[in-house]
């Protein structure tokens, strides 16, 4: 009884000490500290980290040239013979006798590139649109409110279009290429970012410290840039990590539909998936590798994003 009570007391003291430690440092440092304790965040970070390393080092660590049809004579398409995993080719061979393991590794780079660039396009354009709308609506008077209404209705219309359809139309317009995929996926994300930032900024615009800043005669533009914006970016940054996952999947989907990089030699997970489809009954492993790659990567970004959202959310912060 007494020992149990002492243990409990110790635990309480420990908790209060760590709580006090957690209160020092900036908000970001605090969030980071919480992040390190979350298994979800750590798992996500490990996956993402691994993926980024592979993507960056790609051609250096790949054991073979991903485009060389070195073992072409060992593959017999009409008899469904695709040599599976073996000592020299860990993931086996694809339909042209290329090393799947090397193709997976080198393909990671394009996947990451497309995901990051598409997310950046969506983030920057969406943030500008949403930011302008929120600033105009809050401080622009009657005209500003009209500007905001026009912008946001346009965003609503864009949101109503299914994302893949929007991306497909953009891709069809620009013709199949790698940059097409980036732009298409990025454009499809713009309305989401615009809406999110606007909502977040409007919430901040009605907060007490903005009123306090107004009461001190701080100019409007200054209030938007140095008070409202820094407080509104949190959810948008989190959304960006989540969108990164979606962007990777969508980029793969566009490649799968034949709108990606037209170069058949250049390895890309979505294109690899599309190629594997023809041999699905005979060699399902060819589809499984890129599919698992896409899923795990998207999962990693999603886990990290979700954990970040939780650690930055002040409402959840109190529950610790």
């Amino acid at each position: 009884m007494t020992t149990a009570r002492i243990e409990k007391l110790d635990r309480l003291i420990e908790a209060s000490v760590s709580a006090r430690e957690a209160q020092t440092g900036s908000l970001l440092r605090q969030s980071f500290r919480r992040l390190k304790r979350s298994p979800m965040a750590v798992t996500g970070a490990v996956i993402v980290g691994l993926f980024v390393v592979v993507a960056v080092l790609g051609p250096v660590i790949a054991p073979y040239d991903p485009t060389a049809q070195t073992w072409g004579k060992e593959v017999f398409l009409n008899r469904n013979i695709f040599p599976g995993p073996r000592a020299e080719n860990w993931f086996g061979l694809d339909h042209l006798g290329r090393d799947m393991f090397s193709r997976m590794i080198v393909g990671a780079r394009q996947t990451l590139l497309v995901g990051v660039v598409a997310t950046l396009i969506g983030f920057v354009a969406g943030a500008v649109i949403g930011g302008v709308a929120a600033a105009a609506g809050t401080f622009g008077g009657r005209w500003g409110e009209r500007v905001e209404a026009v912008i946001m209705r346009a965003v609503d219309v864009a949101l109503a279009i299914p994302m893949l359809l929007l991306a497909l139309s953009v891709a069809a317009l620009l013709g199949p290429s790698l940059s097409t995929v980036m732009i298409a996926v990025g454009v499809a994300q713009i309305p989401i970012f615009a809406r999110l930032l606007r909502g977040s900024m409007l919430a901040q615009a009605h907060s007490d410290y903005v009123l306090a800043a107004v009461s001190l005669g701080v100019p409007k533009g200054r209030i938007v840039v140095s008070h409202i914006l820094p407080n509104s970016l949190g959810p948008v940054i989190v959304q960006a990590t989540l969108v990164l996952a979606t962007a990777i999947i969508e980029a793969a989907a566009l490649s799968y539909l034949g709108l990606g990089n037209p170069d058949p030699g250049s390895p890309e997970w979505g294109t690899m998936l599309a190629d594997a489809q023809r041999f699905l009954s005979g060699a399902p492993q060819l589809a499984i590798y890129p599919a698992v790659g896409i899923i795990v990567t998207a999962l990693g970004f999603t886990l990290l994003g979700e954990a970040m959202r939780e650690s930055l959310d002040p409402r959840l912060r109190r529950q610790e």
Binding site: S207, D208, Y209, L211, A213, G217, V218, H227
Partner: protein
């Protein structure tokens, strides 16, 4: 002439009238209290004086010559009042609905200029420099992601043109003046790293950064515990005495009023019901509402288990001031005369708005 002279201030949100003809004045170097319960219009009054209320569109519409209203042939402020009093007279579908904006009328004369008539840009130049405000909740009134030093220098830069190291130096000396130890180190800290009392001190430092002539404190101690309350009030009092700043103190705490203020205005349902020097008010409360407020304060010398004496009802059940005394439904001494037309403000030095004051006293 007083530093701030508020005359017949009216604020309406759509059809709801929050402030219904408030008049009071603040002399230089004096502390004036604005007292009342939640919803009586004290905060709205202060926000209106600072020009911080969102602009409504109703005012514009009411001033436009409308055939039905023109028959009443009233001046513009009256037209707003009429619109508020008779909502059905205003076509609800006319124009876009306002986003909860406020229609403000009346005058708030500060040192010879009517603040309510200033352009937004002119008002912005005065806010923070000539008149500043201390808000109720010190945590939410500070930007959580900006170090406090930056939040102070922002004002110094804007109104006093101080920059860089000079501004930092001035910010540190301001923090020192409001009693924050180790000010240079504190400049780099974020609001969440400070205690509640410290945060309120920072807010006060920001408010007095440009030596305003009028300081408005909107319940500056409500979010703090009692010992810190006393310190903050003492600090405000010192600052006012040193600088000769006028202080408009908005509070629901009569204890604060007794300890701080020179003059008191008691607000009820958007109107001043009693206005007097502080000793006078506590010695001879005249309006039944003031009497009730004073009676509901717990006293140390009361016997144990003696219940407190509340004012019955709540501020929700009001009569419009036009039709009689808005306090009548809650008043113990209500009579026919109370709901027989608008009660006037009687007296000057110790003014009250009760038609039965002689009989009650």
């Amino acid at each position: 002439m007083a530093l701030l002279e508020v005359e017949d201030l009216r604020v309406a949100f759509g059809n709801a009238t929050a402030v219904d003809g408030v008049s009071f004045s603040v002399e230089e170097g004096r502390i004036v209290g604005l007292v009342g319960e939640s919803g009586c219009g004290k905060s709205v009054t202060s926000l209106a004086v600072m020009g911080l209320l969102p602009k409504g569109r109703g005012g514009r519409r009411a001033k436009a010559p409308e055939p039905v209203q023109a028959a009443a042939a009233e001046p513009a402020p009256g037209a707003v009042k009429a619109a508020a009093a008779a909502p059905q007279a205003v076509p609800a579908g006319g124009g876009r609905r306002s986003r909860g904006g406020a229609d403000v009328s009346g005058r708030a004369v500060f040192d010879g200029t009517d603040l309510l008539a200033l352009t937004p840009a002119a008002m912005r130049r005065r806010r923070g420099k000539d008149l500043a405000m201390v808000f109720q909740d010190p945590l939410s009134s500070l930007n959580p992601v900006v170090p406090i030093g930056r939040q102070i220098t922002e004002v110094l830069e804007r109104h006093r043109g101080l920059k860089g190291a000079k501004a930092n130096q001035e910010a540190a000396s301001l923090l020192d003046r409001v009693g924050i130890p180790d000010p240079v180190r504190r400049l780099k800290e974020y609001p969440h790293q400070l205690s509640g009392g410290m945060r309120q001190r920072v807010l006060i430092a920001i408010a007095v950064a440009c030596a305003p002539r009028l300081l408005i404190a909107d319940e500056p101690t409500t979010a703090l515990d009692v010992t810190i309350q006393a310190q903050i009030l003492e600090l405000l009092k010192d600052l006012v005495e040193d600088e000769g700043t006028a202080l408009l103190m908005i509070t629901h705490d009569l204890g604060v009023v007794a300890g701080m203020c020179d003059e008191v205005n008691v607000l009820y349902s958007g109107r001043v019901v009693e206005s007097a020097p502080v000793r006078e008010l506590f010695a001879r409360p005249t309006h039944p509402y003031t009497v009730g407020l004073l009676g509901s304060i717990p006293k140390l010398d009361l016997p144990i288990h003696e219940p407190l004496t509340p004012i019955r009802g709540s501020i929700a059940d009001v009569i419009r001031w036009k039709d009689g005394c808005a306090f009548a439904p809650r008043c113990d001494r209500v009579a026919e005369a109370c709901v027989d037309g608008e009660p006037p403000l009687i007296g000057s030095a110790h003014a009250h708005r009760c038609v039965r004051a002689e009989e009650v006293a």
